[in-house]
């Protein structure tokens, strides 16, 4: 919408218009202001628009000395010619009456454009242009109205980012231009019709104020003399310069010029004094933003005024009519429409909004005007909230005080968007949940539709009933129209401050204020009910998915019902539509499910399982499975064959969102998720969008659907703002307005008024949330879901001597570092360093080698800390020594003694029976240092037996003393012998086992992650004739990742040292798994660790012992994950026990692993909740047998102390993100002290 071409005005005048809009920095402002003049000029002579146009009043004032003022004084005379040039000219004047009446004269319009337009086009144009004739004409000619038209929405609070995008397409525009918000234009039309009855301004109240004189003199002012209240006359020459001038800001000088001076003049126009700063601060805003006019009367003044004397004034305030014109306002910019990457934290708009809010609140406070009616929800907290809203503004300003430079230049402070809101402590969270969990067991139940194939438990039927109610919203429709919760109703005063009657306007005895957006209105703001959904927050395992699917079956749109009845419609009968519609189409039969990638497959299969055959069409919309045009598939005209459920991932939503944004917000032509208006949208694991600033969250907000649902077991993860994002997605008024949210929840919470904040949160949650927990009991005392018992055992692990050395070394160093930092007083700054060391300590509990693995370090820390770490490791020779000793003790010596003939002998011998148990061949042949072999168990038993008798272990055969560190298990690599090894690493799961190397060496492919896992192996190629190996010969696998260079040997063996090499934890795990295999071979197990590198070490260990396993971690693609989960679930019992290795982070949430019955937690996490969540993957609905959980904890280590901290529910890990909060840091300091005690 460039007007430059159409509107060639003289430069000078253009400049004037630019300046005339006091708040604006944009030259395009001219059109808007022109309209303003059209409205204002004929009725109110410029001199009386006090504060409306400071330039004019200043020229009226004798002080006006600026050279430009002369030109500006010609304003009124210039006006007609301006109009002529812009092409509106006489017609506009001529039709001013009709303009006033209708807001828009179609006749005139037709004259200008030279053709009659269809009424629908006309309507759109008027909406788009905000009934501004000139704009409409311009838009009609440049075609921009078409682009804007489809995106219009009646409710501007839900204004979309797309719209913001389209608006931004044309370069900068004045922020208070009326057309800035196309979405608002409908309301505008409505308002303007009402506005015409309103006088130019209307009295609302008066208050007293003590101004101070800036002048001395006699009889400057008399009692009862009226004074004019004006803004400072010295305006900065251009707004641009003015903005930089805000350095001088006072406490609330967020005014963009930093100028809040309000003067008052006597009837002769002489300046007498100024209003005190506190009053001036908000009065200036109200004047500048053209909301109010103030007329003063002198109440008391000394006859002889000296500078700085106090002069008492009574100010009568009137609201200007234009304040009620939506265009006169900056729209509430607080719609999370922070789309731009580089957007400052608080935009100018936001600041204006904040100032306006504050101004209005202060004003109403001063004149003692109270709302007649405000929303019930807010009533309870209103008084405090409003006051606090004002404080909030101050609070933010105060927060910028300490660093004025920073804030003045780039980003004005306010909502710290990135790190918004304080974290909730665990106990607060508990309280909150407890409050939200009031669940009425008398809730009626609903029966699912007969197409639903599963049986629902009673509480699930209750959920269904509740959800259907929410969707149909029966209650609400019967209710009378209620006021929009954000608004407050005020009545116009009937008498003024002197008790004189005021002129009344027919049918206008009330006005409405939205204190959150600063909007004023004369019309009753109707509550828009647009939340036909809610939050289903049942605890994990209660079957949220099933409940949701029952809803999908049971509540369908009318169109869907019709379509299902007309299944035999032939294709020809279907209405034809163009292939790709460019507008957003309805998808009345389709429910969109957005879930984390790892759950897509699960949703798909559950959707199938829950439905009687043929009653449910569900598709996964992901990756290459995406259909060309979702729009074509789901549109209304395709109702008979449209999918009932479309399942997609957050990632897809985000990427399509980006595409649509890149395409200037043209939803329709994209043909994807955003081109449809779904019947229902469901966000699974909705805490994915907890950050309202994230693009994923924004993408989800934009999904159009009639019914909106979120599923999450944890609606609040750690900040109250987490909940806001859900509410925002649901479009729940008024809470989806962030300003409102901030006022009632964030601010009280941050000012430690927890009870009030949580109370409000409860009010928000109550109607929205259905939450049941597993430990809820029905009135008969029955658990909600009878789950089989679960037994959790903590298993204490004793570290081997070598491991303990490594551990002690790291421990002492961490302790030293900590002590040194404490002494130096830099603990607070060295959190990352200390945490890095604690991390290594924890790793050394799992496996000493882990501490050397940089990838984990990087995983867990910020890059900077990792770099620090790396340099710290570089000079860490001692530790390396210890680990070396651990890894390859006496490696060279061994090499000398291991001759090929020995290996040959061992191999030959392996065919023999065990000398101890007579098994033939031996089970896990194991050799001692003297090369006599037996079954592993026999040999170890015998050694144990001898030790128990207090004897030195000796060989059963040659009576050679046995060095316990020199017992080797013989590993044969001929695949035929070793039964049932599933290809070890995840990479192999999906690669067909084509390569012979992988077949013959099942576990070597994973050694790249685990440098030491096979470091002790001795390779033998029995058919080679090399008699001996050189001292560090090729037969020994060194610690580097040597993999055998050839795969041609049919039968190779290698030796693996027993006992010393796997860590104590791995050994403990293997013991359990082997015992399990022995006792109950069909049971499947799940192994969790937070260190994926530890999983890398577990893989070869399991492979060696022939334990079948699968792996699931964050690095895998969706298809791989699905394949692994399916394989794990589907593996038949007869195939034997299967182990699933999961990373705690990737596998801790959402998954359903009920086919397993054993859980092994390899390492503790800071918060037990996370572990418990992981355990619940197995112990959840669908689990049929008891679950045994083993938590491996190293004795006398940091892990044991972590358990104590877990008990105290301290959430130490969060401290990495909480560097600012001193108190919590101190608490954590204590934690660290304890960890290192």
């Amino acid at each position: 919408m460039s007007y430059g071409d159409v509107d060639p005005r003289p430069t000078k005048k253009r400049r004037f218009f630019a300046e005339e809009s006091s708040g604006s920095d944009s030259t395009l402002r001219k059109d808007a202001s022109l309209t303003d003049e059209l409205d204002a000029l004929p009725e109110a002579p410029p001199v009386e628009i006090i504060g409306n146009d400071p330039e004019i009043s200043s020229s009226h004032n004798a002080m006006g000395a600026e050279p430009t003022a002369d030109g500006q004084n010609t304003l009124s005379s210039d006006q007609p010619s301006l109009k002529a040039k812009s092409g509106v000219s006489e017609n506009a004047t001529q039709h001013q009456e009709s303009h006033k009446e209708n807001g828009f004269d179609t006749q005139v319009f037709a004259t200008f454009v030279g053709e009659e337009l269809p009424p629908s086009t006309m309507k759109t144009l008027r909406q788009v242009s905000g009934d501004n004739m000139e704009r409409a004409i311009n838009m009609y000619f440049d075609g921009s109205w078409k682009a804007t038209a489809p995106t219009i929405r009646p409710v501007d609070d839900t204004r979309s980012v797309f719209e913001a995008q389209t608006q931004k397409a044309p370069p900068p525009r004045s922020r208070d231009s009326p057309t800035d918000i196309p979405g608002a234009s409908i309301t505008e039309t409505r308002r303007q019709s009402n506005l015409q009855d309103m006088p130019e301004w209307r009295y609302i109240g008066a208050f007293g104020v003590g101004g101070w004189a800036t002048k001395s003199g006699l009889n400057l002012l008399r009692h009862g003399e009226s004074v004019k209240i004006e803004r400072a006359k010295i305006q900065p020459p251009t707004p641009k310069l003015g903005r930089s001038g805000k350095v001088t800001a006072g406490p609330r000088a967020a005014n963009r010029r930093g100028d809040i001076i309000v003067r008052f003049t006597n009837s002769r126009g002489e300046e007498i004094g100024r209003l005190p700063k506190e009053t001036a601060a908000w009065v200036s805003t109200l004047i500048d933003q053209k909301i109010c006019r103030f007329d003063g009367v002198c109440v008391y003044t000394p006859i002889r005024i000296r500078t700085n004397d106090t002069i008492y004034l009574q100010l009568r305030c009137s609201l200007l009519r234009r304040a009620f014109e939506a265009g006169g306002f900056v729209k509430p910019s607080d719609n999370n429409r922070t789309t731009g990457l580089f957007e400052a934290k608080e935009t100018e708009e936001e600041k204006d909004l904040r100032l306006r809010q504050t101004g209005l609140i202060k004003l109403f406070d001063e004149i003692n005007l109270h709302p007649l009616k405000s929303n019930e929800q807010t009533l309870k907290h209103k008084r405090k909230g409003l006051l606090q809203a004002a404080e909030m503004a101050e609070h933010f300003d105060e927060s910028k005080k300490p660093k004025p430079d920073e804030n003045n230049t780039s980003s004005p402070p306010s909502s710290e968007d990135a790190e918004e809101g304080e974290e909730l402590e665990q106990d607060q969270l508990d309280t909150l949940y407890k409050k939200a969990q009031t669940f009425d067991f008398d809730t009626p139940v609903a029966q699912p539709a007969d197409t639903f194939a599963m049986d629902l438990r009673p509480y699930q039927r209750q959920a269904l009933h509740w959800m259907i109610q929410k969707e149909k919203d029966e209650k609400r429709s019967s209710k009378e129209v209620s006021m929009h919760p954000l608004w407050e109703e005020y009545s116009w005063p009937t008498k003024d401050v002197d008790d004189k009657d005021l002129p009344q306007v027919v049918d206008q005895d009330k006005f409405y204020v939205n204190p959150y957006s600063g909007e004023l209105s004369l019309d009753f703001p109707v509550q828009e009910q647009n939340c036909l959904g809610g939050i289903l927050a049942d605890e994990m395992g209660l079957g949220k998915t099933i409940e949701m699917l029952s809803l999908v079956h049971t509540h369908k749109s009318d169109i869907a019902i019709q379509a299902s009845q007309l299944t035999h419609t032939s294709v020809n009968e279907l209405p034809r539509l163009p292939l790709n519609s460019s507008s957003v189409e309805n998808a009345p039969c389709t429910t969109l499910v957005i879930a984390p990638m790892s759950l897509l497959a699960q949703w798909h299969s559950e959707a199938e399982n829950a439905s009687k055959p043929g009653t449910m069409r569900s598709i996964v919309y992901y990756g290459s499975d995406k259909t060309a045009s979702l729009q074509t598939l789901c549109r209304e005209s395709n109702a008979a064959s449209a999918p009932h459920v479309v399942i997609t991932s957050y990632g897809v939503a985000l990427s399509e969102f980006n595409q649509v944004v890149a395409n200037n917000g043209n939803r329709g032509s994209h043909g994807g998720l955003f081109s449809l208006n779904f019947f229902r949208v469901i966000l699974d694991e909705a805490h994915h969008i907890k950050n309202r600033q994230s693009k994923t969250a924004k993408a989800c907000y934009e999904i159009a659907a009639r019914h909106r649902w979120v599923l999450t077991g944890t609606p609040i993860v750690n900040r109250l703002e987490d909940l806001f994002s859900l509410v925002r997605f649901l479009r729940v008024e008024p809470w989806s307005n962030f300003s409102f949210w901030k006022t009632f929840i964030t601010v009280p919470f941050e000012s430690k008024d927890f009870i009030r904040a949580l109370d409000v949160v409860q009010t928000v949650l109550e109607p929205l949330v259905l939450r049941r927990t597993k430990d809820m009991k029905t009135p008969d005392g029955e658990p909600l879901v009878p789950l089989p018992p679960r037994r959790i055992e903590i298993e204490e692990i004793e570290l081997s001597k070598q491991e303990r050395e490594v551990y002690d070394y790291i421990f002492n160093r961490a302790k030293r570092t900590f002590a040194a930092k404490v002494e130096a007083g830099t603990v607070m700054k060295s959190y990352t360093t200390i945490f890095a060391q604690i991390l290594r300590l924890r790793q050394s509990c799992c496996h000493p080698v882990l501490t050397r693995n940089k990838t984990i370090v990087a995983e867990e820390e910020e890059a900077a800390a990792a770099a620090d770490e790396a340099s710290g490791l570089a000079d860490d020779i001692d530790l390396q020594d210890l680990i070396n000793r651990f890894e390859s003790d006496d490696g060279d010596e061994d090499a000398n003694r291991f001759g090929a003939h020995v290996l040959k002998q061992i191999q030959d011998e392996s065919e023999n029976e065990c000398p101890i148990c007579s098994e033939e061949p031996m089970i896990e042949q194991t050799v001692a240092g003297c090369w006599h072999s037996a079954c592993k168990e026999c040999l170890l038993n015998y050694i144990e037996h001898q030790k128990n008798k207090g004897e030195t272990p000796r060989c059963f055969n040659c009576r050679e003393r046995i060095n316990e560190r020199e017992i080797f298990e013989v590993i044969r690599h001929d695949s035929g012998k070793r039964t049932g090894i599933i290809a070890g690493s995840h990479s192999e799961n999906l690669i067909p086992p084509g390569s012979s190397r992988q077949q013959s060496l099942p576990f070597f492919s994973s050694t790249s992650h685990a440098p030491a896992s096979d470091s002790d192996s001795i390779q033998s190629y029995p058919h080679t004739s090399t008699p001996t190996f050189p001292s560090s010969g090729p037969a020994i696998e060194s610690t580097s990742n040597v993999t055998p260079c050839s795969s041609s040997f049919l039968s190779q063996i290698s030796l693996r040292r027993i006992g010393s090499h796997t860590s104590a934890k791995i050994a403990a795990l293997l013991t359990h798994l082997k015992r399990l295999r022995h006792e109950n071979p069909s049971i499947k197990s799940v192994v969790f660790s937070q260190f994926t590198a530890f999983l890398d070490l577990l893989e070869p260990a399991l492979a060696r012992d022939g334990i079948r396993f699968l792996r699931f971690d964050g690095s895998m693609a969706q298809k791989q994950r699905a394949a692994v989960l399916a394989q794990f679930a589907a593996s038949p019992e007869s195939a034997g026990g299967l182990v699933l290795l999961l990373s705690l982070r990737a596998g801790g949430v959402g998954l359903n692993l009920t086919s397993a019955q054993r859980v092994f937690m390899m390492d503790p996490w800071w918060s037990y909740a996370v572990e418990s969540q992981a355990i619940d993957r197995v112990h959840r609905m669908g689990q049929t047998s008891s679950v045994y959980v083993h938590r491996f904890i190293v004795k006398d280590s940091v892990e044991q102390r972590m358990l104590k901290i877990q008990d105290r529910k301290m959430f130490i890990a969060s401290s990495l993100g909480m560097v600012s909060d001193e108190e919590k840091k101190l608490q954590r300091l204590e934690d660290i002290r304890e960890l290192l005690s």
Binding site: C917, S918, C938, Y942, H945, F956, N957, R959
Partner: protein, 152 residues
């Protein structure tokens, strides 16, 4: 308690490939209990004698050695009058790699090479040291008296 594989295998092999001069037959009601006969080695005072022993495999066999006792009286410095045997492999030098067969061979060898320096029957050992020919003569007589006469 099921019989360990090892015992079954040993028993089978003792039956299938008997060692010359040695017989070991398990009791039907207790497969861990064996009746044993060992022939006195030639060129020893026990030549032509057939000595009966009892052998019992304890529960933790082969971790612990079998318990063996001569039932036939024998004049030997390492075997006392209750038939108990002093043999290192039956005590400290036991190894699970040893078997019934090997242990019986050891006993047979012990008959051929008495060791009066590590006595169990002190009076016999004393005599063996002081007057070996006389001791050997007594051993021969005992053999004829107890081992041969009973048998023939």
């Amino acid at each position: 308690m099921a019989l360990p594989k090892r015992i079954i295998k040993e028993t089978e092999r003792l039956m299938a490939e008997p060692v010359p001069g040695i017989k070991a037959i398990p009791h039907e009601d207790n497969l861990r209990y064996f009746d044993v006969e060992v022939h006195g080695p030639s060129q020893s005072p026990y030549e032509n004698g057939i000595f009966k022993l009892e052998l019992f495999l304890p529960d933790d066999y082969p971790m612990t050695p079998p318990k063996i006792r001569f039932l036939t009286r024998i004049y030997h410095p390492n075997i006392d009058k209750l038939g108990r045997i002093c043999l290192d492999v039956l005590k400290s030098n036991w190894s699970p790699a040893l078997q019934i067969r090997t242990i019986l061979l050891s006993i047979q060898a012990l008959l051929g090479a008495p060791n009066p320096d590590d006595p169990l029957a002190n009076d016999v050992a004393q005599r063996w040291k002081e007057d070996e020919p006389a001791a050997i003569q007594t051993a021969r007589e005992w053999t004829r008296m107890y081992a041969v006469s009973e048998n023939r």
